[in-house]
Assembly symmetry: D3
Homo-oligomer: 166 residues x 6
């Protein structure tokens, strides 16, 4: 049976940790929808269009991967995608508890939804979009932790943010 999973996230920006999980996910399902979750309450560093474009460029031309975005509940989005499998990465105990609660809540809203968790490779254990941004906006480099072109874009954002201050 052909199976599709949705891998939702902010991807602000996509990191090598995300890409590792996408590669692993494709070892378990046939098709993966990498879906940027639009959260009106947050102010991302990159616009939705920038984030979608970066993901598309990072995953390349792979017929088994779709890049998309959605607003609202992920369980509703799953239904629109005709699937019931949610893919999530786990790195740390702090992730774990929140993810557990969300997995139970999603299942309550739609009994068919199954969340599968995969552990991020140890190389990316300490890589999150949040830490990536913290480092770059303190003047550091994240080479090797994100795709090269993402690194370039981060540097540009950093320059722009410095000029605004002046």
């Amino acid at each position: 049976m052909e199976r599709t999973a949705v891998y939702p996230g902010s991807f602000d920006p996509i990191t090598n940790g995300h890409l590792d999980l996408i590669r692993r996910g494709l070892n378990v399902v046939d098709h993966l929808i990498v879906a940027v979750a639009i959260n009106p309450a947050k102010t991302p560093v990159f616009t939705l269009e920038e984030r979608l474009e970066m993901i598309r460029r990072a995953v390349g031309d792979n017929p088994r991967i779709t890049v998309d975005s959605f607003e609202g509940l992920v369980v509703d989005y799953l239904q629109r995608c005709n699937t019931h499998i949610l893919l999530r990465g786990l790195r740390a105990v702090l992730d774990f508890e929140y993810e557990y609660q969300m997995a139970l809540m999603n299942r309550r809203m739609d009994r068919k939804v199954e969340t599968i968790f995969m552990m991020t490779g140890y190389k990316w254990f300490y890589v999150s979009s949040r830490i990536i941004k913290e480092v770059v906006f303190s003047g550091g480099t994240v080479e090797g932790l994100v795709p090269d072109f993402v690194n370039q874009k981060l540097k540009v954002k950093y320059q722009q943010s410095r000029q605004k201050k002046i």
Copy 2:
């Protein structure tokens, strides 16, 4: 693509928590091999044959489930089964860290192995084979937490253990 996952464990005995995970696993892969891991260093309450029989009876006649046992490394067993997907349940933070380390170690021994984790339903959050045995061997009942016939077998084991003492 047809996909098979191995769900290894001691199953000493099988609980409703395990059965919940088996049902969920079948929503994600096509075929599931429930595999009793033989650990010569441990002394289980039920013999290997008893454990296999209880699992078979609990899962019933389902062409998508195979019940089996193995000794040695789970990554070698996966290879013999012609698959690379390992299914594990997660309930608590204490599970999480050990499982993370084992997932990394298994991947190191065989780069193709992918472990997928699914969260046990909240109803079975507090159910483990260990607690089940603790309760029964203190004279308590675990009705509703294990299949009825497992409950009967646990009572018999408990009676036998009490007679031995006298």
Copy 3:
């Protein structure tokens, strides 16, 4: 001896998890004061009056329960209530550490204060006011996780928030 405990919280809004804890608390003490903590630094979804009214309606007419609110330190409020017992719910490891630190701090400010923790029932393990609001404001339903009339009020707040945007 008659004993009273204070059960403080934001209750923004009250959930079935809170109500479960209130019921349990009454199995341990004679009188319970459910007290909305006023935090000037936070912007709740419901006004203080709305929150008090929802709690009153949810707990019904029970002579053993008082619904109240307070500003400032909970240890001072306990003194005004002529009691020294604080009731808190525990759900997860993340709660645990913060609650431990607060219990030690409260005890330091008033040596007589004792915090008793009760575990939320597993059915409400994943229910918090925060997740309830996240789900509703993403367009989901929380039926069965909060009292029905709270569910209605949440829907109204959600409609209002959408109209504001337009």
Copy 4:
């Protein structure tokens, strides 16, 4: 209403951490039953009689405290004591998860049972019977962490264990 709580444990031996919790417990309930749980699967350092005697001596002559022992399920013992309140100490995250599972399990066996948790004072944060024994049997002293006479008895046990080896 008069209320009684059962505080179960191995008490092998009783520590100042236990005594702190007993003192706190008496601020919340009227009567406390300190109950040594007999676990046939474990080999304690002190016999049941020694443990009971040490607890009795440590708590002194207090009409609000009963010292007792029980075998089997704590929920059955609670029933025999005509109460439904269980008192447990919490120190660390590792305690927390096991205690949560046990609280849910006990409640399942008897819906009336309520477990209340109190946090051990920070002074006793690192004191457990296990660590106390580890230190003493490595030749260290635990003065100030257990009552003085317990310290003496531990030293005697240590001497006896050394003579056995020779």
Copy 5:
């Protein structure tokens, strides 16, 4: 060999927990640089100058301690200080995971950087700048948890914040 460690933090304000760690750090290295990290994204209660002055006054006249501030990456600051040792305090599991990720990230940016962690004394287990401020701004006292003159300054800030509201 003479060794210097950098102990970075917000110190908003310095607490007895920080001072305990500084004292301990001096038992392990020869020279300690207590460095206020300037974070433009945060709004501290005390200005940089106030924080520096409070630290200086609290540590007193000690030739082995330097008080300083820095902006940007701590690894760059280490280099400017001609050292590679970072000192951090650990209190809780929640600290632990974030600190682990930061330690790995810092090491990635500069392979020579070593982070050493020391555990805060149990007396200060529940003391953090955040909780200190929460208590003071709710009208409580933190006497004995911060140096006396810091306590005075906190009271002044609290009075000022109340007058602003009126």
Copy 6:
């Protein structure tokens, strides 16, 4: 000032994770004593002599490293070594709590003792002597996770254990 730290452990056997920590420790102190803790209650796979020899071979000829063993309390051993610095590795939350308790206990026995923790490199995050032995005794290989000659010795132990069974 010249500083020496003691790095105690079972080292049954030494792994690349231990060696990583030894290398890091030498970036922080001048001299390191790698000390096998003799625990009469445990049955190690390797004898004390084997473990000492393996450590010596693994660390090579380094005048800044001493390899030794001790029985009893580590705080007493520190005193005999004329130092007060204890070095410990941290990998996971489970380690963290136990290590915290031990650090507090050691400090209680000797106020001068300071424990410094260093985080194991992410590459060795999942490597512990226990998992190494589990893998080898299940027929797996741990090449690259321990020094090559340790790998050889583990294989010999595994062969011997299999012949004993037959």
